[in-house]
């Protein structure tokens, strides 16, 4: 059991502490409740670009990384559709340096034109390196734009297009900071070799003086219910064709969430998943295939994608996927198969909780969801799922009219 303490400062900063004396380190995680869903549709990629700028230093601390490295620490950050998360691990004796740095950049940033220009260029290179210059790299970007018409999930965290990143100006950056970066819009989690008392004293000392800010109210357009199937074809110079499918699902907090998660485990959990067993091993139609849920806070997606073996007809390949899906709705999984995916889920949670940084990230995220106890209850939630629920939830979401399909066709002749 993971024991944690929770408190809230007057300025609204929520704090979680979990002491793990077995580690010589402390992990410090700050989650800001802002992601790419909070962006202007004409200025996408801003939340992620902003994450880069958070390392640009302040008027008081010109270089964020060096003092932390001097303290023996390491840090990084990531941005998703929903959140921006900054994390540090540092030897226990030097945790105060982490407090000093993180509270400083929460107070205010040094918005320099030069830093902005450089990070725009860095992020553009990131766009190329991770998406546009990779085989199949733009497929999920296309799928997203097909599945969502209104909600900001229609664009990816990296941005809808490179030009959005190059067009950002300093005023927009400043406004973004003061409307989203605030103690009352953040969750600070400390795990590892720290007592709750020490965490309380240090948090008050360093974050206490930062004033509450007016955080921009989130008013996101609701994605209308999809009523008919959507299809898109893309032709690319890749070695083999691929199929991508997305079904709309409920939000992260929906009661169906763990059932859907379990369904993707039945389909694609490990080498013994149904898709791999049937379509890769037995029928040899795909070289690889995967399925997962996006776990977004607003209504998300279940995504399934596979790369075809050479010479396989794409319609036949899709029909083979549909057959696996139909089977889910028609026939209850065996007790053995249900037990298998539940056991595997349990191990994956235990493995994740064997690391102080993972524990810090999970605690922050569950706190944001309003259910911090999930750190201990997730396994139980997952275990509650039964086979009748699998058939019902499959029938509810995995339908043609709720599905977007992308044919990613190879144009290569050889």
């Amino acid at each position: 059991m993971i024991k944690y303490y929770r408190f809230c400062l007057e300025n609204g900063l929520r704090v979680l502490v979990h002491e793990d004396k077995s580690s010589p380190l402390i992990a410090m995680n700050i989650l800001y409740d802002v992601g790419s869903r909070d962006e202007d549709p004409e200025l996408t990629g801003l939340a992620h670009l902003f994450e880069h700028l958070m390392f640009g230093g302040t008027s008081r601390i010109p270089d964020f990384d060096k003092p932390l490295q001097l303290a023996g620490g390491e840090n990084n950050a990531f941005t998703t559709e929903d959140i921006t998360d900054y994390y540090i691990t540092v030897p226990e004796t030097n945790i105060e340096t982490g407090f000093w740095l993180e509270s400083d950049r929460m107070s205010d940033l040094d918005f320099s034109q030069k830093n902005l220009e450089i990070q725009k260029s860095v992020v553009t290179e990131e766009y190329y390196q991770r998406y546009l210059n990779q085989p199949y790299g733009d497929a999920l970007l296309l799928l997203r734009s097909l599945a969502y018409k209104v909600h900001p999930y229609r664009w990816p965290t990296i941005g809808r297009e490179v030009s959005h990143i190059s067009n950002v100006n300093l005023n927009e950056i400043k406004e973004f900071f003061f409307s989203h970066y605030a103690p009352n819009n953040a969750i600070l989690t400390l795990t590892g070799n720290i007592t709750p008392d020490r965490a309380f004293i240090l948090t008050n000392k360093w974050f206490g003086p930062i004033g509450k800010r007016n955080v921009k109210q989130r008013k996101l357009p609701k994605e209308p219910v999809q009523k008919e199937e959507r299809r898109m074809d893309a032709e690319r110079d890749v070695p083999a064709s691929a199929i991508y499918k997305a079904w709309h699902t409920g939000p992260r907090r929906s009661k169906d969430f763990y059932v859907l998660d379990l369904i993707t485990d039945l389909l694609a959990g490990g080498e013994s998943g149904r898709l791999y067993t049937k379509l890769v091993r037995e029928k040899k139609l795909f070289s690889e295939i995967n399925a997962y849920i996006t776990s977004d806070i607003d209504p998300g997606m279940m995504i399934l994608h596979g790369r075809l073996m050479k010479g396989v007809d794409i319609h036949l390949a899709e029909e083979s996927i549909n057959q696996v899906i139909r089977d889910l709705k028609k026939r209850y999984p065996s007790d053995n198969e249900m037990e298998k995916v539940k056991n595997k889920f349990e191990s994956s949670v235990i493995v994740s909780n064997s690391n102080i940084l993972n524990k810090a990230m999970s605690l922050s995220y569950f706190e944001l969801l309003g259910n911090t106890d999930l750190i201990n209850n997730e396994i139980y939630e997952f275990r509650k799922t039964n086979k009748r629920m699998v058939a019902e939830v499959s029938a509810k979401y995995l339908n043609e009219e709720n599905c977007s399909t992308l044919y990613y066709k190879s144009t290569r002749k050889d």
């Binding site: 030097n94 407090f99 190329y128 085989p135 083999a240």
Partner: protein, 424 residues
């Protein structure tokens, strides 16, 4: 906010302290088992290691294919059955064949230990290498390979290894599509018989090790006849290509991958810790010279790094990045500029202090938790070294002076010896 509260906290010295030692336990047949007992969760990780890496293969793909086929059917279980049992017991296993070593690692919950040991024994010592599964695997591998051939970073890395280790050496040899037609079950069986023998096995167990774990290991692996260690290995000549600059064209690429590197010393060499420190300064952490210059000052790339790695018969160092085509030349020039600067101008005190503490912090992370300790143990054990390597390393980090770094840069980063590969 009062001023006093904003004063930078004092930084206390970072120290690795005492490294937890692995306890050696020997099975009845002589197989060494290293036990690292710590951790908070009821988990263990077991790694079974053999000298069955690429270096032992007489044709491309043989080591990795033998390794991947281990779980494709055993005497008792079909591949589907093996995998569904592994999943049923919640175990995460990973087969791997590296350049020198090969084997399997598995993370599991203690209560299923005995079940998993039985499966591991099937996988490691009773594989059937069925032809149907082999053919399917080779087709899949060919299609993965073809996708990798479209990635500039793979094209550049493969070329670098060929350039520095030679076209014939298993460390350097590049794959061609025809290689995927050259496997058959009897080749795999032979390779398996020679190199997956208990006499050559070592086991590393880490995590919350329950009482009785060692005796269970004895039940499953200690009764086997150890077999002979194979001694008829082919010896390959390692020879760098004469041509130092190679460009691989990839039409339509938005970025060029750059790899600059050469063979170098490995962990067994006394200069290795110093070289690792030098590498950190050049490109081994976020505030490295290369990152500061090429990413944070010029914005040419999302990331640039340099690394030094050890192999059994050699070592290599490589600087890696991907940049927009128009910045390729400028980036390469800046890389050489940074190397020359390290050869000419001693590193300043402030920078050296940061690097020292950063590396010491990294070392604390390298021993945080049982799995990390096991990884760190393995990476010295496989070179015939022990934790004294890390203590020597720490001592070097604390005592190295700027002139020594300059001298190391001159010795080990001779720009005439570096191979420069671009793909894009």
């Amino acid at each position: 906010m009062t001023r006093s509260k904003r004063i930078q906290p004092a930084i206390r010295p970072v120290d690795l302290g005492k490294i937890p030692e692995a306890r050696l336990f020997t099975l009845k047949n002589g197989v060494p088992v290293y036990l690292i007992n710590s951790g908070t969760e009821d988990l263990v990780r077991m790694e079974f290691i053999f000298s069955a890496g690429k270096i032992k293969e007489d044709r491309p793909l043989l080591a990795s294919t033998t390794n991947m086929m281990l779980s494709e059917g055993s005497k008792k279980y079909s591949s589907a059955r093996l995998n569904s049992l592994m999943d049923y017991y919640g175990a995460f296993y990973k087969l791997s064949a590296e350049r020198d070593k090969a084997g399997i690692s598995v993370v599991l919950i203690n209560r299923y230990l005995e079940k998993i040991l039985e499966l591991i024994r099937e996988i490691l010592f009773l594989p059937r290498f069925p032809e149907k599964e082999l053919n399917a695997l080779m087709k899949k591998r060919l299609s993965w390979y073809l996708v990798n051939c479209d990635k500039v970073h793979n094209i550049a890395s493969d070329q670098l290894f060929e350039s520095i280790f030679g076209k014939r050496h298993p460390y350097g040899r590049k794959l061609v599509p025809e290689d995927f037609n050259n496997m058959n079950p009897s080749l795999l069986s032979d390779f398996h018989k020679k190199y997956y023998s208990p006499s050559d096995m070592a086991v590393i167990v880490s995590g919350k090790i329950r009482k009785g774990t060692a005796s269970l290991l004895n039940n499953y692996f200690g009764e086997m006849h150890p077999g002979a260690v194979c001694s008829e290995d082919t010896v390959y000549r390692m020879k760098s290509l004469a041509r130092k600059k190679v460009h691989k064209n990839k039409s339509g690429a938005l970025q060029t991958a750059i790899r600059i590197g050469s063979p170098t010393i490995n962990k067994r060499h006394p200069d290795y810790p110093g070289l690792k420190i030098l590498n950190t300064i050049l490109g081994g952490y976020f505030s490295s010279r290369l990152m500061k210059n090429i990413r944070e000052d010029k914005g040419y790339t999302y990331g640039i790094s340099s690394s030094v790695s050890s192999l059994d018969l050699s070592g290599f160092k490589v600087i890696s990045t991907e940049v927009s085509k128009k910045h390729t030349r400028k980036t390469i020039d800046e890389i050489y500029k940074e190397i020359r600067l390290l050869q000419k101008k001693p590193v300043g005190r402030d920078e050296l202090r940061i690097v020292r503490n950063y590396i010491l912090g990294e070392m604390v992370r390298m021993f945080d938790g049982p799995f990390a300790i096991a990884e760190s143990f393995r990476s010295v054990w496989e070179f015939g070294l022990d934790n004294s390597y890390y203590y020597r390393f720490v001592k070097k980090v604390k005592t190295i002076d700027p002139d020594e770094i300059t001298a190391l840069a001159a010795t080990y980063y001779n720009t005439d010896e570096l191979h420069e590969i671009t793909a894009g």
